[in-house]
Amino acid sequence: MDRDRPTPTPGPSRGPSESALQVRRLLSRIGFYLFIVIVGAYFALPMLWLVFAPFDAHPTLAAAAPSAFTLGNFSDLLKNPNALRSLANSVVLAGATMVLVVAAAAPAAYALSRVRIPGRDLLLYVLLLFSSVVTGTAAMVPLFLLVFDLGLINTHVGVILVLAGGLMPAGIFILKDFVDSMPKSYEESARVFGASSFQILRDIVLPYARPGLAVIAVWVVVNVWSNFLIPFILIRDPGLMPAAVVVYNFYTEGGQADLRLLSSFGLLYSIPVVVMYLFVNRRYGFRFYGGIKG
């Protein structure tokens, strides 16, 4: 048996296979870097324009380092009443929808987490089903008519209610996860001291589920801030349109787009959601969120 033990010096027959292995390793290394470079370029190139053009005094459609660096595009943007007003409208829509979703989803999630209602799980499934099936695109006709008949067409309230209804099931679902993880003994001792259900919700459940509340708050804001379709079909008055629609109007309405305005506005409008999302992603990790997106 001892004779079969491999010797430290490789036999002549092993030479070629060893170098073949090295060639293969080298090729897979090259393949790996090639893949990374191509994918990196694919994701970076379309975005470059948004990085360079806002700071270019004479931007074109091509992404190129600014020939003449300037912050003038932004100061011009600040003088444009349309752009500023639309950002304010976006803040109103996102803020109000966020408050509405959090205020309604938190008690609902608590109730669904703690009470044995017959068919509770089925109810949750059906709600989640509706929120993923009834998208803005599939329901644009009835949503338009409903808001029209309620006299809420061309108002922020109409957009807020529609978006809140669409985001609610997933919001409840995410929050319920957080409430489920809360030990029941907390509430039981509060109950023993005579606290009402509302007090328990306010003083115990909500503080405990604060990370969950933060997550759905950011998630709602990101969704509403980016949503194009709902305000696009429900709002006709330019003064009420959010930034999502006004950006689109900048490049579709009236001839040549003003690239200086468009680029600086696009950047200013995009930065808040990108920052918020990356922050939440870093802090709480990636979770699956259903509901309407885009």
């Binding site: 370029a41 994701f43 324009w49 309604a104 609902a108 929120s131 949503l143 609610m168 509430e187």
Partner: protein, 308 residues
Amino acid sequence: MSPRGAELPSPLRGASTPPEASAAALQTRGAVAFLTPALLLIGVFLVFPALWTLYLGITDYRLTGIQAAQPQVIGLDNYTSALGDPQFANSLWVTLLYVLGSAVVGQLGLGFALAWTFRRWRGPARNALEVLVITAWIIPSSVVAFLWIAFLDTHNGTLNAALGNADIPWLFSWPLLSIVVFNTWRGTAFSMLLCGGALNTLPPSHLETARLAGASSWQQLRDIVLPSIRGHILTNLLLISLWTFNDFTPYLITAGGPNFATDTLPVYIFRNALINFQLGYGAAISAILLVINLVIALVYLRLLRARS
């Protein structure tokens, strides 16, 4: 009992309430009150529109004219005229290609490839690429739509410049391919994150054993990795298919053109219902889209249940 009046629970009261009732922190009546606001919003703005779509689809509802005041029930006429309309058939076909190309092949394929690559690769370059992919997913649609219009522009676009001043009119000559490539760029992040999460659930020892046994990367992938994360991949596939079916962003880039080459179902509905104001007809198409969504979602929920 008074809200905060009771300093300490008297033994008497403790005895009078049955243990189950005091253990359940929330009574059914309170639960109903807690649920009502959310359910009301969901009922009015989510469930009701879906049901109304089904009703509108069998009427000749229009926004103006006599049909606006008194819509007539015309049965399945809208559906038969939709199914007989070559424009609708075209739209369905375009949507199918869009979903297959950009969601199934593009987003899932690239997303998985990236997750697999990121599995063992560490360092700033990896993090930068990951943030880049996620950023493409997070930037609002109306901004990315213009970024791609600029990127693909015939004379000044960055893509043609990168190809050596090629002057190829991408959005005109290759419209469907363009939006497929666009939507792959747009949505790969979700598949990448979900597949990455799935790969993290694999015990490293399994792969280590396979590697020591001499299995190549491809064999590890085929025989160990894919079978164990099949559920995650299916979940991912269903979700991105659903989202892509309902994606309205192509409208912002091509508005359905040129010559209906990118006329996906959402764009088709929008054009018929809210531009031509044939609301009944638009609702019928919406109902068809709802049914497609429902089938995808039911398969998804069934899988979700089977796994838990």
